[in-house]
Symmetry: C2
Subunit: 207 residues, 2 copies
């Protein structure tokens, strides 16, 4: 009896956690960050308010974790063992970067992500503290993947030694953010491919 209690309770906790994540993401997408409350999340998830307060210190913390979890699930669904995830290194830098940027484009075009991603990004833009958490937990780990792949390319001689990999990463991902956030033009695979080609080869003619 005593032995079976722990797994049951773990299963129940896991189920509540999933329900809370789902409720948080759907609510923030529907009513925005400001109007999303712990009470609202609890009601939609069918758990007590205290359950949420026991696990997370704030609304921002719930949302950020829900969001990280969404990303992890997407990475797992895409076949990555996500804690070990790296940008592929087939030796063809352009092809490897295109795989990753196309996947990023697909993710940003996925309606499941759209509303909560926008809500969280908007909050991070005006609230420096949430922005810092967002950057630390979400962006920096992604940036590190690019930096590692670009360093490997420098060692292989396909990227110049004087290039700062971090700035190079922003050249690849900044335009996608620009187009997505500002909704100026569609985000397509062709666009992702162009960004890689332009970034690697430059705008100036090669003689």
């Amino acid at each position: 009896m005593a032995e079976s209690k722990a797994p049951d309770s773990t299963r129940r906790s896991e189920k509540s956690r999933r329900a809370i994540y789902a409720a948080a993401l759907s609510l923030v997408g529907e009513v925005g960050y400001a109007k999303t409350t712990i009470e609202g999340i609890a009601a939609r998830a069918g758990v007590g308010k205290q359950t949420i307060y026991r696990w997370w210190p704030s609304k921002a913390a719930v949302l950020l974790e829900a969001f990280l979890d969404l990303g992890e699930q997407a990475a797992e669904a895409a076949g990555g063992a996500d804690s070990d995830y790296e940008i592929p290194d087939t030796g063809d830098l352009a092809a490897d970067l295109k795989v990753v940027l196309r996947a990023t484009v697909d993710e940003l075009n996925d309606p499941t992500f759209e509303a909560p991603t926008r809500a969280l990004a908007a909050e991070g833009i005006v609230d420096a503290k949430i922005g810092a958490q967002y950057a630390e937990k979400l962006l920096e780990p992604q940036a590190a993947l690019y930096v590692r792949r670009l360093r490997a390319a420098q060692e292989a001689g396909t990227v110049r030694d004087d290039i700062d990999p971090r700035t190079a990463m922003e050249l690849l991902t900044g335009p996608i953010l620009h187009r997505w956030l500002l909704r100026t033009l569609p985000l397509t695979h062709d666009y992702a491919d162009s960004l890689v080609d332009y970034t690697l080869n430059g705008l100036a003619p090669r003689h």
Copy 2:
């Protein structure tokens, strides 16, 4: 008497308009977009609510115009005759782009711009209608300047003919938006210069 009335009223209107712009920008910076109201703007500007409703259909319209006006004033202060403003064409594309990107960095680092720019950008991210106005009135005219300068460079042979100038523009400005919005690393003149050099020359070695 009758002749002097029109200029006086124009002057008064202009003074009210300036006060309303200033009130709108300071309020949105302090309390955010959602909590900024026409009533609050009117009270701070020392005008009647009806004065605002006579000139603008909505809060979003007031803010967008206040914001455009701020940009125009900055452009005028920087010495540009702003309706005719173009990116300089000295024949040295890298130098010309660095002038513009450094000015953009300075503007984004200016505390006068910081809070209202963030508030408006955040609102545009979650509200597609405001985002579209923001893009149409603010971003597209700026994008057109880059496109014209890059087309001139294509004619001069310093940019490849197969480059899409619009995508090239996003390569230059996207990383700045990325760094500013996400507050990952400082925005400096050196960074602006690197973006121009990387974009024009590419990451791959030139043989």
